[in-house]
């Protein structure tokens, strides 16, 4: 029988490994008790974008597709729901949210079908152009989308429970954590691994029997579904949606969140979105119109100083701490 280092990790060690995660979770759950409303709103926003960033990571970090139009997918779901709410006066969350998600899925399928034969830079340019087309529609189709003004006046979702700032925060937290766990399982599944295989060596994957073209599309659609959900959560949080959430600046920001946090790690995307949005918040307090300079500097600094992202470094750091703690005892 093959000797397998199955690793009967002791309860203690297991706990130690996950301690930071548990602390973060506890913090998030308890946050409204000791943080002010604006900070809770900020964290809600971070949660929405972290879901977007995680979805980008699936396409970008795991599958290796340089997507630059994810904000369009995020936005399409939001716009669809806003239009259904304001225009068609359908107010049931359980009807419009799935429709929004499906719309996002359809758009991702379209994007991927057009772009999947290309890779790298060309994939980026195609998804960018497609994203810009969607942005143009948002700006131009004034009767439906109200152009640059956007669609506003969106109340909290009606699910037989009247939300406020704090309860919506918990709602978002619950959904995002659930999605994060689902996505995590996805990345550990045979399909998820096949996406990484495609990224690492597409030709080999094909000779092993993987229909790489189809899988890229399916993977992209999975990513798009979650991006759409993120858009819907954001719509309700924000009370509205505007073209600026759909364009290349937003797509670029989602991508940088993933890269800062660490591509292909999923949790890195979570971290990255937190870092970027928190920085944006605090810098905007001091120098509101100068934020883009800092954002640009962040882009550049990440490339030169944080290749591989923050999350893997934190993991290594924590592993060192745990090992040190173990040797002590």
């Amino acid at each position: 029988m093959a000797s397998r280092k199955a690793g009967r990790i002791s309860r203690q060690k297991q706990l130690a490994r996950f301690a930071p995660v548990l602390c973060a979770f506890a913090f998030l759950v308890a946050a409204p008790l000791f943080l002010d409303t604006p900070i809770i709103s900020l964290i809600t926003k971070v949660l929405c974008f972290s879901l977007l960033a995680m979805s980008v990571d699936i396409a970008f970090g795991y599958t290796g597709l340089w997507t630059f139009g994810h904000a369009a997918i995020f936005g399409v779901a939001a716009y669809t729901c806003a239009i259904l709410l304001n225009g068609a006066h359908i107010s049931s969350f359980w009807i419009i949210a799935p429709i929004g998600i499906v719309t996002a899925g359809v758009l991702s399928a379209i994007f991927a079908s057009i772009a999947a034969r290309s890779s790298g830079l060309y994939f980026l340019l195609i998804t960018f152009a497609l994203g810009q087309l969607v942005y143009s529609v948002a700006v131009q189709w004034k009767p439906v989308t109200h152009g640059n003004d956007g669609l506003w006046g969106i109340p909290y979702p009606r699910i037989g429970f009247s939300f406020d700032n704090v309860s919506y925060y918990y709602f978002t937290l619950a959904i995002v954590i659930l999605c994060a766990l689902l996505l995590h399982r996805f990345t550990k599944s045979p399909f998820g691994y096949s996406l990484v295989g495609i990224r690492e060596n597409e030709v080999r994957a094909r000779t092993m029997g993987y229909n790489t073209h189809l899988r890229k599309i399916v993977g992209f659609v999975v990513s798009g579904l979650f991006a759409g959900l993120a858009g819907i959560l954001y719509l309700y949080f924000n009370g509205g949606i505007a073209p600026e959430n759909v364009g290349m600046a937003a797509s670029g920001m989602a991508t940088i969140m993933v890269i800062i946090g660490g591509t292909g790690t999923l949790w890195g995307a979570f971290l990255g979105s937190g870092v970027v949005l928190l920085l944006q918040y605090f810098i905007s307090l001091i120098a509101p119109s100068r934020w883009p300079i800092f954002l640009g500097a962040i882009f550049i600094a990440t490339v030169f100083f944080a290749r591989g992202g923050i999350f893997p470094r934190l993991v290594k750091l924590w592993q060192k701490v745990v090992r040190y703690g173990n040797t002590e005892s």
């Binding site: 045979p190 295989g197 092993m208 229909n211």
Partner: protein, 250 residues
């Protein structure tokens, strides 16, 4: 029992005629070596068989199916598998993950999205078995790119064997391996567990060729210039000329 039939494959790149009327057959379990000078088109033959390049004319019949224009991924479930001359692994994934991907490739389980890839016990056991057979079990969790060259070639081989192929295409399987490692690889090919696997292997390593091959195809500038048992080929004058530069004795 014939399982592979290749007929009149013609392939040109630009103005260069690379394959000119390649034809051969393979029987179940047969071990065939494909030899020839560099540039003769040996790897190209494998590329055409796996569908990475489309021929201009000719047919490939695998188990009665005309797979000539089938996409690469569609050929694997029929039992076609291939290893590459330059190790073609998934570098950042662990050795185990590499093998698991190979095992799931032609299975429906490859579409599962919610169950961990390591939760499929039968596949996990099979993976360990394969790793053990090439002495890589201890390197299970190391990223494939961290392996030594010889270890990578061994991994390369079991990735091709993982799917229990009926037709195994090997491109220079022993390139860069030591004498011992090559012999070990030859043993794997000749082992009874692989007796039903038809193998077509491209090789420059004549030791490997004469130990394992039951039949030899000699490729010379895009045509099968000679075909026969190892003894016949060794005795073949034209083959000796191109390989050993011998001229006809006066």
């Amino acid at each position: 029992m014939e399982i592979l039939r290749v007929e009149e494959i013609f392939l040109a790149f630009g103005g260069l005629q690379v394959l000119q009327g390649i034809s051969f057959t393979m029987k179940k379990g047969e071990k065939v070596a494909l030899i020839g000078p560099n540039g003769a088109g040996k790897t190209t033959v494998l590329n055409v068989l796996t569908g990475l390049i489309a021929p201009q004319s000719g047919t490939i019949n695998l188990l009665g199916h005309n797979i000539t224009h089938w996409p690469t991924h569609a050929r694997a479930p029929l039992g076609l598998s291939r290893s590459f001359q330059v190790s073609s692994l998934f570098p950042q994934l662990s050795v185990l993950s590499n093998v698991l991907l190979a095992l799931h490739g032609i299975q429906g389980t490859s579409w599962h999205m919610l169950r961990a890839i390591t939760a499929y016990r039968a596949k996990l056991d099979k993976a360990d078995e394969l790793l053990e057979s090439v002495d890589l079990l201890s390197k299970r969790d190391i990223p494939a790119r961290s392996l030594s060259h010889g270890e990578q070639r061994r991994l390369e081989l079991i990735l091709a064997l993982a799917s229990n192929p009926l037709v195994l295409l090997l491109d220079e399987p022993t390139a860069g391996l030591t004498g011992d490692e090559s012999a070990a690889l030859a043993e794997i090919l000749r082992s009874p567990s692989n007796k039903d696997v038809a193998a077509l292997f491209v090789a420059h390593d004549l030791d490997l060729v004469f130990t394992v091959a039951e039949r030899i195809l000699v490729l010379y500038y895009g045509t099968v210039m000679a075909e026969g048992t190892p003894e016949e080929i060794q005795a073949n004058q034209s083959v000796r000329e191109i390989y050993l530069g011998e001229t006809k004795s006066a």
